[in-house]
């Protein structure tokens, strides 16, 4: 297993390097920050000064060399907007996004597995149909619409929850609830389908012939086998959340990485964009390694 994880880590590192190169050149294609940052009537001399200050006047290849050198030292430079180290700005925002993603995904996984498994066991029954309909709606409703409706209902009409911002635990309720809907709908369907085929497996027959109760048959014998395809989808959905939920964070004024990234791109704050991409990429690579570990823990045929 250690070898498997080692191989994955090396592959991740290589992809990270590819990403570094790609990001640098692509971001240089989006426009000149000097034009965007300085007032519209700035003189050419002011622009030159600005470029010199931020090292934007050197040949591209030299800029790239310096960029790689700095990255190796984990130095992403200053944020043009905030005049602070870009990495600090990014980590600050990530400290909001990470708990948001983890709380949401944790709730999604528990709810989807329990409800999906029970629906599969009661196939065709009322509970199964209820879960199927609800999950289908969840998987297809656009999140910005749910977010706005939720604000109208729970914040404006009922006045139970704050509309936006952070500060109290109550501020977390709506963002988590809105982000929960789509991955829950999707994963519940995958769990249900995967459980359905696992429940017809011969080893379930053996368990029934042994006199094992329904509870352990569902949650011990079948679920662990059914989880293998589910984990892939969980990883995929978790990656989307780790990237920052741009729309939801913007609507709720949530100072996470998604909102930071979109703001920085709009204002050509290259250093922040770079740092944000690198940090989220590392987070996603780490999560993929966790998924691989989960796989090999669940399935001994991978381990041995």
């Amino acid at each position: 297993m250690t070898r498997l994880i080692g191989q994955r880590a090396i592959a991740s590192l290589l992809s990270l390097m590819g990403l570094m190169i790609l990001v640098f050149f692509l971001s240089r294609l989006t426009g000149d920050p000097a034009v965007l940052f300085l007032p519209i009537d700035a003189t050419e001399q002011m622009k030159q000064q600005f470029r010199a200050l931020h090292g934007l006047d050197a040949p591209l290849i030299e800029q790239f060399g310096r960029y790689v050198w700095d990255l190796v030292h984990l130095d992403f430079g200053e944020s043009l907007r905030k005049a602070r180290p870009a990495i600090d700005v990014v980590l600050e925002a990530y400290a909001w996004t990470l708990p948001l993603a983890l709380i949401t995904m944790g709730l999604v996984v528990v709810a989807a597995i329990v409800l999906g498994a029970l629906a599969a066991f009661n196939i065709g029954g009322f509970f199964d149909r209820l879960v199927s309909v609800v999950s289908l709606i969840g998987a297809s409703a656009p999140d910005f619409w749910i977010a706005i409706v939720a604000i109208v209902v729970f914040s404006l009409n009922l006045a139970w929850l704050p509309t936006s911002g952070v500060g109290t635990p109550m501020h977390w309720v709506l963002p988590v609830a809105v982000l929960f809907v789509r991955p829950f709908g999707l994963i519940v369907q995958v769990v249900r389908g995967s459980m359905l085929s696992a429940l017809t497996a011969p080893y379930v027959k053996t368990a029934r012939a042994k006199g094992v109760k329904n509870g352990p048959i569902i949650f011990i014998h079948t679920l662990r086998n059914a989880m293998l395809p589910v984990i892939t989808v969980i990883g995929d959905q978790a990656a989307a959340l780790l990237n920052g939920a741009v729309v939801v964070e913007t609507i709720f004024g949530f100072p996470g990485i998604g909102k930071l990234m979109i703001d920085s791109i709009l204002q050509r704050d290259f250093n922040v964009v770079l740092a944000a991409i690198m940090v989220t990429a590392i987070a996603i690579f780490l999560m993929n390694i966790l998924i691989d570990i989960a796989y090999s823990l669940l399935d001994p045929r991978i381990r041995h």
């Binding site: 080893y203 053996t206 006199g211 094992v212």
Partner: protein, 538 residues
């Protein structure tokens, strides 16, 4: 019979499917007592497993529905008992083992955990269960029980897995063990070991054994009484000896008549020229030798059988002759020309002359092609029979030759039974007018009565068309009936070879002797005699 421990009375089960209702079993009745072995004998689709599944409450309802009947266990009707009470009986009083132990063991839990669960599921403490599991794993003959406990199903061989299933079933000392085709997936020598183990354990524990099987040999070896099922009904019941020697029902007679290994042994005629000569063929996969210096000769119009257990290299030999695998060294001379060194153009024409029929016709026939397309496809590849009308005529002829009808040409494989599909596969092979047909376990998956028909068909093709056969099989009865010469393989090497009569009547090598001894005779008296002489001091 009133005081039988387990009795099924008048049981009828329907299955409701999209194509209407199927009466899976009708008014079936049987009983079994402690210390007794009952065999339920039947071919595929006879409903032989349904009543046992009903006993264990394993039928999926729907689609199944129990229409009538009683299942009495200690006089109490299980069909009127609550699901919870029936669950408590499963495993504890009545246990079950299955045909495919790999599929029936959970792949993601250690075997120790699964065996221990048999007791913990019924409320016994885990440490007592562990001790009992270790004891039973040793009892069923697995080395190093401690280590075996921590391993997973895929780390054992098929025979070992079935032993573990048996250990699991015996954890709570059940009164009755139901075994559904427990040895069908195993090699003959392993089958003999597992059956012997079941008998020993039965003698030790006094449990009743219900054995579901399609194999008359298994019945002869182990059963006291037998019920014969056909088309959902019991057509015959009695002691194993009575049913074999004095069958009343025509179906039973047909089944016994179809059992292979009773025909006259053929004496090969070596005057015909040698068609295929293999010299010192070697093939290694990584470090594992699959073929070691294999040499044999096949004469025109003869059938040469290659027998051996799984992993002996039989199929690798066939694949190497067809150049589907590349040999490491050695020669395979086809009419004097070396196939191994042959160029692509010559190889194509030789491939027309050598055709292959595989074990599983369901998988080897493309489900989206009609029978006409399947049979005529080879003509496109080899640019033969260009005229459409001629093609249609030839396909019709071929279908008649293999015992099907010309109008079957427009149908698709799923519309045929397993035996008919194998006939289609044979017609496809014949379409190219081959001189050699390689049959890789071509009749192994078929029911005995169908098997006998297919063998008769192949034999008539050999006689009428002079086709030679390289016949790969593990069933010695079929080989005895069909082969002129036999080659016995073990771990990639030829152990013994010679005319069929010599191999079967006077085997020289201990391995061949073991293989023949493990091959079960359908006659219970013969099996009893063999057991007697085996247990007598040498």
């Amino acid at each position: 019979m009133a005081d039988a421990l387990l009795e099924v009375r008048n049981l009828s089960v329907d299955f409701h499917t999209a194509h209407g209702t199927v009466h899976a079993v009708r008014k079936v009745g049987w009983s079994v007592n402690r210390g007794e072995t009952l065999a339920i004998l039947g071919e595929s689709g006879s409903g032989k497993s349904v009543s046992a599944s009903a006993v264990m409450n394993l039928l999926d309802m729907p689609p199944a529905r129990i229409v009538s009947g009683e299942i009495l266990f200690e006089g109490r009707d299980l069909l009127k008992t609550s699901a919870e009470e029936r669950r408590a009986l499963n495993g504890k009083r009545i246990a079950m083992i299955f045909q495919d132990p790999l599929g029936h063991l959970n792949p993601v839990y250690s075997v120790g955990w699964q065996i221990v669960e048999m007791m913990t599921a019924h409320g016994r403490p885990a440490d007592a269960a562990r001790a009992r599991a270790l004891e039973l794993i040793a009892r069923v003959g697995l080395p190093e029980p401690e280590r075996a406990m921590h391993k997973y199903p895929h780390q054992f061989s098929g025979g070992q897995r079935q032993r573990l299933m048996i250990a699991m079933a015996l954890m709570l000392k059940p009164d009755i063990l139901i075994a559904d085709e427990p040895t069908t997936a195993l090699d003959v020598t392993i089958q003999a070991e597992v059956l012997a183990l079941l008998k020993e354990l039965q003698a030790e524990t006094g449990m009743g054994l219900v054995l579901i099987t399609h194999d008359l040999g298994v019945v002869a070896e182990i059963a006291d009484r037998v019920v014969v099922m056909s088309d959902g009904e019991i057509v015959e019941a009695g002691t194993a000896g009575d049913v074999y020697h004095r069958p009343h029902h025509p179906y039973t007679r047909k089944l016994i008549g179809a059992a292979p290994g009773k025909g006259e042994i053929r004496r090969p005629d070596d005057s015909s020229p040698v068609l295929l000569e293999i010299k010192d063929l070697c093939k290694t996969y990584g470090h594992v030798p699959a073929l070691k210096n294999v040499s044999l000769a096949l004469h025109k119009g003869q059938s040469l059988a290659v027998v051996g257990e799984s992993g002996s290299g039989k199929s690798t030999l066939a694949r190497t002759v067809l150049r589907l695998e590349t040999a490491d060294s050695g020669e395979a001379l086809w009419k004097g020309k070396d196939l191994i060194a042959m160029n692509a153009r010559d190889l194509l024409s030789v491939r027309r002359q050598i055709q292959m029929v595989f074990q599983d016709p369901t998988q080897s026939l493309n489900p989206r092609m009609s029978v006409y397309q399947i049979i005529s496809e080879g003509w496109d590849i080899h640019r033969l029979v260009p005229d459409r009308a001629a093609r249609r005529k030839r396909v019709a002829e071929l279908l008649e030759q293999v015992g099907l009808l010309p109008e079957h040409a427009q149908r698709y494989p799923h519309q045929f039974s397993g035996g008919q599909r194998q006939r289609i596969a044979i017609a496809r092979a014949l379409a190219l007018e081959p001189e050699l047909i390689i049959c890789d376990e071509a009749v192994s998956a078929l029911d005995v009565s169908i098997q006998a028909q297919v063998i008769a068909l192949l034999d008539s093709l050999r006689r009428r068309l002079g086709i030679s056969f390289l016949f790969i099989a593990h069933d010695l009865g079929v080989v005895r009936d069909f082969a002129d010469t036999v080659v016995v393989m073990k771990s990639g090497e030829i152990v013994e070879s010679g005319p069929t009569g010599e191999i079967f009547e006077d085997p020289q090598q201990p391995y061949t002797q073991r293989l023949l001894a493990a091959n079960l005779d359908p006659d219970p008296d013969v099996q009893a005699q063999r057991r007697l002489s085996a247990s007598a001091p040498a």
